[in-house]
Symmetry: C2
Subunit: 387 residues, 2 copies
Amino acid sequence: MSSVVVAGIGELVTCDGTGTDGLGARSGAAVVVEDGLVAWIGPQSAAPAADRRVDVGGRAVLPGFVDSHAHLVFAGDRGDEFAARMAGTPYDGGGIGVSVASTRAATDDELRALLAARVAEMRAQGTTTVEVKSGYGLTVEDEVRALRLAREVTQETTFLGAHVVPAEYAADRAAYLDLVTGPMLAAAAPYARWVDVFCEPHSAHAFTAEEARAVLVAGREAGLGLRVHGNQLGPGPGVQLAVELGAASVDHCTYLSGADVDALAAGTTVATLLPGVEFSTRSPYPDAAALLRAGVDIALATDCNPGTCYSSSMPFVIALAVREMGLTPGQAVHAATAGSARSLRRDDVGRLVVGARADLTVLDAPSHVHLSYRAGVPIARALDLRA
Amino acid sequence: MSSVVVAGIGELVTCDGTGTDGLGARSGAAVVVEDGLVAWIGPQSAAPAADRRVDVGGRAVLPGFVDSHAHLVFAGDRGDEFAARMAGTPYDGGGIGVSVASTRAATDDELRALLAARVAEMRAQGTTTVEVKSGYGLTVEDEVRALRLAREVTQETTFLGAHVVPAEYAADRAAYLDLVTGPMLAAAAPYARWVDVFCEPHSAHAFTAEEARAVLVAGREAGLGLRVHGNQLGPGPGVQLAVELGAASVDHCTYLSGADVDALAAGTTVATLLPGVEFSTRSPYPDAAALLRAGVDIALATDCNPGTCYSSSMPFVIALAVREMGLTPGQAVHAATAGSARSLRRDDVGRLVVGARADLTVLDAPSHVHLSYRAGVPIARALDLRA
């Protein structure tokens, strides 16, 4: 049993639900970590003895960011598609097929190396928990491979065979749906915690409400928790479906009706906002402040993927949420930690409380406000407490 | 004489004025550096022998970013002002006085350490040339001190005694103008290359067109080049004044009339755009694409400062210029390198051509497009070629 006291903390943000924005922010505090868990939090002057002491020199310390929506198992990039979109070509989900082709063509070791590099890149920016989806395989073998590799780096693995209808099934969507809800699901479920579906009537490549319902119900029967890509490209049924089925999260929520907001406020589904997507697709930003006022639980995540947002930066997401979605700097930090942990139905991450995982992120700054105040500057990193 | 060949370059962006967006982009090229200067550029297979070889592993290489507008000599921060602004408090320039007080109270060594840390932070993000302004001293002694410290880190030093009218002169603006154009200028000029003025009728703290003209004319007579903060908070006279006096640059240009655009197109003054300020003050973005179509020379810079944009990230600025100002990824890179070098009337930086300074920035990416495609991710760094 090895213990560390983390001292010299300028501002400790615990996200324990107390204080302004639920941040539980305090000064003069220290954290004692034992065997990877938070063992004690209190005034530095009262900290119990520990085997080692790490002084962070007046920096702010936060719960590590929880990135609850990421597509990290892919090969190749789509920089050309991005440049074309910035020049006016609209996004319709069709580019996903490009990544499917390059991902299928990659070896296990290539994908493993790419995935490891992306997780390391995230950790270097302060993310300590990441959800990883499949969805660039779209065959039984390729989806299972993606989840098997994802499971090597995270327990938050999501089966997204229903990302798009692959080109080879374009003439027979029903057959692909049978595959996804049948043999593919059966093979994928042992490697997945969650099932997800791109429910989007505005894309010919994605799934209707009825199709999405079939995917989610089958996933639930296979023992998986539910997540939904909904209301990204226009108003749609994704939010209502997610709430009705008790999904843990409905992600994007770019276009919400009043009825959608009411449903979210009344239900148990977290609205996960992905402002990096609005940034990278030049879409309007949803009003996160209005969601909070309505009583909706919100989360922030990157959606890191090669098409609609190739950013892995939670600090960038936080800065966008403040600038563009009306959140205070504190609300944005809460949504990127405790909020996104809730969207994964986790209470051992996203908060610094006794018994939680000691995932600490440190800022080269005295306050969490600097995550949005110093937009674009890489001030956050996961704190490495190994001796 | 020591030479290095930089090889394994995935994409070499030279900004030599040729090709799409003037980027002079090519693949399969190598660069030979001798004594800090570019000695040779050509196909890697034809590269001459050199003492050392640095392989960048397929990464893109660009001219180091030229950040032609930064306020780096200050103490303290204004995170509280930022948070209040995001909650709706408008910006009027009054907060500058807060930084003046904390900067005056700092020792030389404190300011020197802060300045060095900021320059290092910029370099770690790919910036190899930075302009540094005074303007948080506003006494003869404090302005000279700021410029003397700035001169230790850059030759691009700018006297900005006319940043705001300090509180102690609020009742006698004319006396402060006499000081700035008289004894303060005389004492500052030996340490400055440029004179600058915050010309802004929408701020009671800043300077009118007539006052700004007096500052610029006096600066020119003292041998300094001219720069102007103009048209930031609303339509104003700054652009016209800058063009009329042949200033090297007019910076901000947030609010431009058709006549302003015409004047810029007909003149020799570069329009330096600072989208980090529009981001951090929630202001509208000027249309950079329209400026290019009109034939205006543009530059991009951070305006890194504790009030309106505490971002030191040129990649962030590039991403904003693409998302919000209509530039292509290539146009934004050109404006952040060759464009901003032009705003400093420099031809030895901002381009990779034989004889130029060998300021190379390398991306953890295969193409310059990734600077905007991977918004928020710290993929750029200045390449260190020391043995």
